[in-house]
């Protein structure tokens, strides 16, 4: 690990000011960051602990929830309100990592976790995300846990989160405080940036911006399913995952929000897929068509070709379970 300064501010102003200094990074649970610092894939000059800012509460907000940035994944998954009204979020959290990691990992940290692309984690391999302009060893290399949607000729790294997939299906909004004290919110679609020719820039956060909470609006669908397919039964990243939030009215799909893990450079959602499901009567042909639309333009390598039929089948299975 490279040397760094460590500070633990006790108010937001101090945290954002510290986060604004050159080479600073915030730390919540640290389960991803410390790992990458050991590998010297990340080498912050200043580590700012944000776990004592009082951002660890889950509060009712109208018919929705306001989830503090440092709420631990374990607490969020076990919260009775989340279990009852946002079960897709509990399910996604519980499908991720291990009990020990969920006890440390935070809400904002989960959103900001880095790809598990092995070339990103290996400093001897070319990686545009780690070293802009260095090239991409994954292209033409060994790929499996890589993206097929949202990719560019510079990067095919996968966003590994389960939680964020459920958050996308639930229309979560992120609250951000800037170093001047201004607050702004953004949805996840706006928050994440596609790699294009700048894969090292993953979000629209600016230096010193601190995520303070994630807001969930009232659930728009009561039929919520999260299904994750992985190489082993537990404690593994998704090969493919699907989060669905649906509402049925008179045998038709009145609301459809479907998000995907394991296939995108960011937690994936395709409004075309949602639109073609909405207002329709469930059928095999409808769900097959949704699967075809989803993978239009998929960027498939030899090692990721299996994800196309896999995600289509998991999508169909999840949709049938959701409408049943």
């Amino acid at each position: 690990m490279r040397p760094f300064d460590f500070t633990r501010p006790d108010d937001l102003e101090g945290a954002c000011a510290a986060g604004f200094t050159e080479g600073a990074t915030f730390i919540g649970g640290g389960t991803n960051l410390i790992d990458l610092m050991k590998l010297e894939v990340m080498a912050p000059a200043h580590v700012v602990d944000v776990t004592r800012l009082g951002l660890d509460r889950i509060e009712d907000e109208g018919d929705g929830l306001n989830i503090g940035a440092t709420v631990r994944n374990a607490d969020l998954a076990a919260d009775p309100r989340v279990r009852r009204r946002y079960p897709v979020l509990s399910r996604a959290l519980l499908a991720g990592a291990s009990g020990q990691l969920r006890n440390r990992a935070t809400t904002a940290g989960n959103l900001l976790q880095r790809t598990r692309c092995p070339y990103f984690q290996d400093r001897d391999s070319a990686c545009n995300k780690r070293t802009p302009g260095a090239g991409c060893a994954a292209l033409g290399g060994e790929v499996r846990n890589h993206a097929i949607l949202g990719t560019s000729e510079h990067c095919i790294a996968l966003h590994p989160s389960d939680m964020a997939v459920a958050m996308r299906a639930l229309d979560a909004e992120i609250e951000v405080r800037d170093p001047e004290g201004g607050m702004r919110s953004m949805d996840l679609d706006h928050f994440y940036r596609l790699p294009r020719d700048t894969p090292h820039i993953e979000t629209r956060l600016e230096p010193g911006d601190l995520i303070t909470s994630v807001r969930l609006p009232a659930p728009k669908g009561d039929r919520q399913i999260y299904r994750k397919v992985r190489d082993r039964a537990s404690y593994a990243f998704a090969l493919v995952s699907v989060a669905a939030v649906l509402r049925m009215e008179g045998g038709k799909i009145a609301h459809a929000a479907v998000a995907f893990g394991g296939i995108g450079t960011e937690p994936w959602r395709d409004i075309e897929v949602d639109a073609m499901l909405t207002g329709e009567t469930p059928s095999d042909s409808l769900f097959d068509k949704a699967g075809e639309v989803l993978v239009q333009g998929a960027d498939v390598q030899d090692g990721t070709a299996f994800k196309v039929p896999l995600v289509q089948r998991v999508l169909k299975d999840v949709l049938w379970r959701a409408v049943a």
Binding site: A74, S90, S98, R104
Partner: protein
């Protein structure tokens, strides 16, 4: 930097580089070598300790992040959770829950933390109904322990030992 936390009931004041992980602080600076360094990347669970009663990977945490907190390691767990830990440790011996023993301290600390999570009714990935009272079946137990690997493959004995401890009546308020 100056760092203070409590380990197994004793306050410890240390002068540490910010890079020192909780695991290295315990092992190298306090001489508590029961917590093991396996993968050092949060994948094997051999370093599991309890922080404020909750199981965590000590290798993926900086000592500096634990200022003022209470840490319980395998050396102290029988004192802080006497019923559960003592029963579990004896059951690990009775059921051959180990061969080389390297993962065992992590397995024991993780199981004590896991059983207290179960007592709080936390659901898991394999829980069918998120609202129903939890029954700690074999599937529940193995899912909840998936963060602890045993390269000797002693899982059948480990599972039996934890089931024995979970069935024993407990009054470990610290762990609850």
């Amino acid at each position: 930097m100056q760092i203070s936390f409590t380990v197994n009931g004793t306050r410890q004041d240390m002068e540490l580089d910010p890079r020192v992980t909780l695991l290295d602080a315990l092992r190298d600076h306090l001489g508590l070598t029961g917590s093991k360094k396996g993968c050092d990347h949060g994948q094997c669970g051999a370093c599991t300790v309890l922080v404020e009663g909750r199981r965590v990977n000590a290798c993926l945490s900086l000592a500096a992040m634990h200022e003022g907190e209470e840490i319980t390691t395998i050396e102290g767990i029988a004192q802080t959770s006497p019923d559960t830990a003592a029963t579990l440790q004896q059951a690990m011996i009775d059921y051959d829950g180990m061969q080389c023993g390297y993962c065992t301290p992590g397995q024991v600390c993780s199981a004590v933390g896991m059983l207290s999570e179960a007592r709080e009714g936390w659901p898991s990935h394999v829980t069918e109904d998120l609202d129903a009272p939890l029954e700690l079946t074999r599937d529940e137990l193995t899912e909840r322990m998936s963060g602890n690997l045993c390269r000797c493959g002693c899982y059948p004995g480990i599972v039996k030992a934890i089931r024995t401890a979970s069935e024993a009546r407990t009054s470990d308020s610290e762990a609850a």
